[in-house]
């Protein structure tokens, strides 16, 4: 009971912050006009969520290459890989013969993009924002650039519904559980997600509380801080779909193994791009996350 009551005011505060950030994000994103590359038939897509959106808009027949982070849908993996999103090589990208490049914000290095611009290839930059509005904005920009504004509006509308449903569903959850997102466990070091991360963004969408706060980005946690945070749920990225391995690693970890999450076996490992990509599958991911936690919360309430 104590646990429940202590969280309620907090949740209200969080919704306010969420509302504020939703209100702010379109204003931030609406800057430079989107280049019109609707005539382009040879696209290179840089960034997992951008590629997913291109597929979702049915424009995949125009793709000639993708970056290393573009892993979904699996068909995308058959395209030539021009390298890691932030370490592109201009000649490599040009060799795939693009007449336009769609890049997620943060693609680079800037010099490589500059050389590509010099070579006369138009570049569309899709802003990254870890929120529901951010996903819709991405869809809108990709659609606008490719001359598929109508399709994008349809996709955007259905994603808006899905996000609203996921959010509604999450809001009906009676009790709340603290979630710790663990990015990696290399060498026993726990790298956890703080504020301003994609993990924090998806937790927000699922109305979940981050078990740790007060820092930004992904940081190694000291063992005592983990004990102090006492997460009820541990969320991870599954390594190439191997959910069991991630779970075993957590259970065997000397400190994580002692948390309520590990004791009750509440460890959720989801595909990285699905969970953190902020693309067309984000509503689904938020919903899955929220439903799983709801089941566990009900279990806890029943005990």
């Amino acid at each position: 009971m104590f646990r429940l009551s202590s969280r309620l005011p907090f949740r209200t505060a969080r919704s306010l912050v969420l509302a504020a950030s939703l209100a702010a994000s379109p204003a931030l994103a609406a800057g430079a006009p989107v280049p019109d590359v609707s005539g382009a038939r040879h696209l290179v897509s840089i960034g997992g969520s951008v590629t997913e959106i291109i597929y979702a808009l049915g424009a995949e027949d125009r793709l000639v290459a993708r970056d290393t982070t573009s892993l979904f849908p699996p068909a995308a993996q058959a395209l030539p890989d021009v390298g890691y999103i932030r370490a592109l090589s201009p000649e490599g990208v040009l060799s795939t013969g693009p007449d336009a490049i769609l890049t997620l914000e943060g693609s680079g290095p800037p010099e490589a993009l500059e050389v590509l611009r010099q070579a006369g290839v138009p570049i569309v930059t899709v802003p990254e924002d870890y929120s529901g509005e951010g996903v819709l904005r991405k869809v809108e920009i990709v659609g606008q650039a490719l001359g598929l504004a109508d399709k994008a509006a349809d996709l955007s509308a259905s994603l808006r519904d899905a996000l609203a449903r996921a959010e509604e569903q999450a809001a009906t959850r009676e009790s709340d559980l603290k979630v710790l997102f663990v990015l990696s466990l290399s060498g026993g070091n726990v790298m956890a997600a703080g504020e301003h991360t994609a993990a924090a963004g998806i937790m927000k969408l699922a109305h979940l509380t981050n078990a740790v706060s007060g820092f930004g980005g992904y940081k190694p946690l000291t063992p005592e801080a983990i004990t102090e945070a006492a997460p009820d749920v541990i969320l991870m990225m599954s390594n190439s779909g191997d959910h069991a391995a991630s779970r075993e690693t957590v259970l065997a970890h000397p400190v994580l193994g002692l948390t309520p999450a590990a004791r009750n076996n509440r460890i959720l490992a989801l595909d990285g791009l699905y969970l953190l990509g902020f693309g067309p599958r984000t509503a689904e991911a938020a919903d899955e996350l929220s439903r799983t936690v709801a089941e566990w919360a009900a279990e806890e309430a029943g005990q």
């Binding site: 932030r86 370490a87 090589s89 060799s95 943060g106 301003h196």
Partner: protein
């Protein structure tokens, strides 16, 4: 085997080599060195032309020249690949390779130790700190500066960091107007430790993307080569190369020891200062435009000493030629091996340079049977 015994043996090795060569006649050796230089120049030309012809895009230098000289057809994009991507990249690669190899040879001459590396005078550490500071703090604390400099901020930070670290170290190594090489070496280790701790703090503060950026920077790459960058780095590297060549006689004299060189009328202090800043200039500029590329400074001078002897008048130009060739080869491999993606050149260099260096070492120790 300890490092100390290794370097002692190596140092003792060279006079023996020169006495062997000595009884073959100094003229013979000079002729041999000239032949090696000529061969290296030929190699560089071949490698340079090849690097213009090989890449992820299928256009070759032949296509390009045919189109430009005889009015043949060439798509605009292919023309730009040669002019905007491969050509600046080739020039930058040659400059960086030559700069790093010559800097290595000068350091080894200065420290009278074939294992000395430009890293010893803190250039690399200082550059890393400059780059880490900009990658991590560029959008927050240092945002006014990075807004002003755009994407020149990181190269400039690398250069400034490298030069600042070298200057600090130089002051630390000096007492009563004398530069103590031993103090310089030890202070260099301490300073590097401090600087890398600062880099560690920045890494701790960094977000995921910044850590990856830093990582890729440390592995080195010529993928960001533009004419702008090349022209910015060229004066500094060329000046350092020319400066190094002027020091060749002094470095030869220094081989006999500081006291003996002083008795021969050499201004040892001036030579040391000039050598240190020459190395800092070449390495600072190279690291700034291409990131961390190891091994060139050790492998190239070492190999050439075996081929042409330790005379710096031939060794230094030889290093410039071979260093440039080696870097171009590594860069060409880096960009075609996993095309259309690209490997960081530091990886290629260490994977090629490491085993090669080991092979030379073992061969010299007679540990490989039949050699």
């Amino acid at each position: 085997m300890s490092l100390a015994s290794l370097s002692a043996e190596d140092a003792g090795d060279t006079p023996a080599a020169s006495s062997r060569a000595g009884h073959a006649g100094a003229g013979d050796r000079r002729r041999r060195a000239r032949l090696v230089l000529l061969a290296l120049a030929g190699l560089l030309v071949v490698v340079a032309l090849a690097s213009l012809s090989i890449g992820a895009v299928g256009v070759t230098l032949g296509d390009y020249l045919h189109a430009r000289l005889f009015g043949g057809e060439i798509p605009l994009r292919d023309r730009l690949v040669i002019e905007v991507i491969r050509l600046p990249r080739m020039v930058l690669g040659m400059l960086v390779g030559a700069g790093l190899a010559v800097a290595g040879a000068v350091m080894q001459g200065l420290f009278r130790n074939p294992l000395a590396d430009p890293g010893l005078i803190g250039v690399s550490a200082g550059s890393s700190l400059g780059v880490a500071a900009f990658i991590v703090l560029g959008s927050t604390v240092l945002s006014p500066v990075s807004a002003l400099l755009g994407f020149h901020a990181v190269p400039l930070a690398a250069f400034a960091g490298g030069l600042a670290a070298t200057f600090c170290l130089y002051r630390l190594g000096q007492s009563q107007g004398q530069t103590s090489i031993a103090t310089l070496l030890l202070a260099g280790i301490a300073l590097s430790a401090i600087v890398f701790a600062c880099v560690g703090v920045l890494i701790f503060m960094a977000d995921d993307q910044q850590i990856r950026d830093l990582n890729f920077w440390q592995l080195g790459s010529l993928a960001g080569a533009t004419w702008e960058k090349t022209l910015a780095a060229a004066p500094l590297i060329l000046a350092s190369l020319a400066g190094a060549r002027l020091m060749a006689g002094g470095l030869n004299a220094l081989f006999l020891g500081e006291a003996a060189a002083g008795h021969m009328g050499l201004d040892v202090e001036r030579l040391k200062t000039a050598a240190i800043f020459c190395v800092a200039g070449a390495v600072g500029a190279s690291v700034a435009v291409a990131g961390g590329i190891g091994f060139v400074g050790i492998v190239v001078p070492h190999l050439l000493r075996l081929l042409m002897g330790p005379d710096h008048r031939y060794l230094l130009p030889g290093c410039a030629l071979l260093g440039a060739s080696l870097l171009l080869v590594a860069d060409t491999v880096a960009r075609v091996l996993v095309a259309p993606a690209e490997l960081p050149i530091g990886i290629v260099m260490a994977l090629v340079g490491g085993p090669f260096f080991l092979w030379i070492l073992l061969r010299r120790k007679g540990l490989i049977a039949g050699v």
